[in-house]
Every structure is written in C-alpha cells, then in structure tokens.
C-alpha cells in the first residue's frame, strides 16, 4: 500500500491520534507520505514577530493571505517548525520521519504567481511582490530515498522556485495531490476537522459518503470556502491517476484507518470504480 495523508497546520491541532495511527501502519510495512498545512502556525509566528497578516481577495472572490517577502520568510519558518513538531512526535512513536525541505531536497517545484490582481471594495490592484506559488513539478526520488533509509517522508506546504531561489508557500492539499499522482499512490487521504464533504454544513448527518469524477459538479456545488480547494485537490489527484481519494475527520481515534477503510467521503475516479467498491463493501 502506498498512500499520501494531508493534515492541517493549526498550532492547537491534536495530532496524537493521527500520528499514532500513521506510525502503526508505517511500522506494519505500508509506505506513506505525510504532507501538512501551516496557516495556523503562521498566524502565531506573524503575531509574535509583530507582522500583521494581510488578506487579499481575487477578482472572483477568493480570499487568500497576502504573501510579501516578510510573510514568505515567516510562512516558510513556521511551516518548517511545524514539520519538526510532527517529526518529534513521530520519533516518540518509533518512526523516523525525514523532513524534506524543498530547496534542499528538491522534492517539489513551484511556479510563482508573480503578478496578481486583487480587489478592495470598488478598487482594483496589481500585486507584484507576491511569493505564493502553484506546484509545477514533483521529484519522487527524494521520497524514495527516504523510504529506502527506512524513513517516512514529511513535506511542509512549500515548493522551490528556481527563479527566485526561494521556497514559496503552496496549497498543502494540492501539493498532496501532486505528490500522490507522481508516486502512483493507491489512496490520498485529506484529514481536517469536519467529517468530510457535507451537503449542508448545518446538518451533521448530511455527510456525502460517496462520489466520483462522473458527478463532480454536484459535489462542487455543495462545497463552501476551504472545501472548494480541497475538492480541487481531490480532482487533481483523481485526474492524476489515483483510483480513490478520501476527505475525512482527523478528530476520531484512528483517523487514517477510518478513512482508508471507508469512512468520511470516498471519492472515486469513475462511477464504475465507485460501484465495484459498493459491491465489495456488500
């Protein structure tokens, strides 16, 4: 089994359940890659350093963090510190995690969104010194040499931009999707603090249990805010060759096993794959 699991980057997140579950599966011989986000821990570091977080909105209404030179440096440092927290907790579970920093390990490359348009009320702006990026390429070699050394590859939400020679912050979910496609993973699991894709966020019993690329518009219509980006990442993984991706809850006891064994929202690359999974589930 080769899998990719993505978790959030909030400093308060209780990652113990996930890391124990992941460590158990790694020790049993499964090959995993752990990708994490960093927005929560970045806010904490920006505040400590007295750097105000600025948000900007794209012409089509997407609200994102503005990443100038100072924010980039803080985002990178916060993301890597969170990687160290996860690697320390994994070491305590008997698993060696190899934190792969993209400028050193060249795991992920990014294209910088150097020119952006933003709107503020009725006014519109061109942003030029933005340092966030989109993942453009993955090199699987460093991941494989980490496995060969008996380690779990652990990736912060960063990718290397040859032009600027800097690590840019990228969307962790889409980085996980690009990695999953590049290593031909059997499954990608995105864990967050919601049960999965919800038809109606106010109704806890409205979890969408299954979906596939064939009915993707229906899923997209339900998604709100961050879930839109998670769905985009899921589609990129499925179109990148994965048979299955799962959106599931990180707050249960064995969150990874729960997701792999059918919990949360199971999203398949085709209707037929979805049907055969139901036949198997019986």
């Amino acid at each position: 089994m080769i899998g990719v699991v993505k978790i959030g980057g909030a400093s308060g997140n209780d990652t113990r359940f996930l890391l124990e579950d992941l460590a158990r599966r790694v020790r049993s011989g499964e090959r995993w890659v752990l990708v994490h986000g960093a927005s929560g821990v970045t806010d904490v570091l920006c505040e400590a350093a007295g750097v105000a977080c600025r948000y900007v909105t794209s012409p089509s209404g997407y609200r994102s963090r503005y990443v100038g030179p100072a924010e980039r440096a803080l985002f990178e440092a916060a993301a890597l510190s969170f990687s160290c927290r996860l690697s320390s907790e994994l070491a305590a579970c008997g698993v060696a995690a190899a934190v792969l920093r993209p400028d050193a390990a060249r795991t992920a490359r990014a294209e910088r969104k150097a020119v952006l348009r933003a709107v503020e009320g009725s006014r519109r702006f061109i942003l030029r010194d933005n340092y966030s990026g989109t993942v453009s390429a993955i090199d699987r070699l460093p991941l494989e040499s980490a496995w060969k050394a008996g380690a779990l590859p652990l990736l912060p939400p960063l990718a290397f931009d040859d032009e600027s020679g800097l690590n840019l912050n990228v969307d962790g979910d889409r980085l996980a999707a690009a990695v999953a496609a590049s290593i031909g993973a059997d499954v990608m699991v995105i864990l967050s603090n919601v049960p999965g894709l919800m038809e109606d966020l106010s109704r806890p019993d409205s979890l969408v249990r299954r979906g596939s690329l064939d009915g993707w518009e229906r899923l997209e219509r339900m998604a709100e805010g961050n879930m839109k980006r998670k769905l985009l990442a899921c589609r990129e993984a499925l179109e990148g060759g994965l048979e299955r991706v799962v959106l599931s809850d990180s707050r249960c006891e064995r969150p990874l096993t729960h997701a792999v064994e059918g919990g949360g929202s199971q999203l398949w690359n085709s209707l037929s794959a979805l049907r055969s999974s139901m036949a198997v589930a019986g």
């Binding site: 794209s58 012409p59 089509s60 209404g61 997407y62 994102s64 969104k113 020119v115 952006l116 348009r117 006014r123 519109r124 702006f125 061109i126 942003l127 030029r128 966030s132 839109k228 980006r229 985009l232």
Partner: protein, 56 residues
C-alpha cells in the same frame, strides 16, 4: 485632482483620492486598464492580464 496621460490614447485620466502604487485605473476615453506603477514620478503602464484566477 492629479491627472495622468493614458499610454494608449493619450487621453487624460483622473486619479482617485488616495490612489496607491499598483492601483488599476480605467481610461474613460479608450477603456484601457492602466497600472499606476509609480506615484513619484507619476507613471502608468498597461495593466497586465493575469492568466488564471489565483484561487485556482
């Protein structure tokens, strides 16, 4: 109110109150989108078209 010359049609474009570097101005005469690249000296260029929406 400060004015600047449109680089496409040379019409006069009025700056909004508190205009900032990087702001996009619309030339009322020819409809071109201009980027206020510098306030001192007052300079505009045609605003670049950004390919994808960076939410994607």
């Amino acid at each position: 109110m400060a004015q600047v010359t449109c680089v496409v049609c040379e019409g006069q474009v009025t700056l909004p109150e508190g205009a900032m570097e990087g702001e996009i101005l619309l030339c009322a005469d020819c409809g071109t989108e201009l980027e206020l690249v510098s306030l001192d000296p007052l300079t505009v260029e045609e605003a670049p078209q950004v390919q994808e929406d960076w939410g994607e």
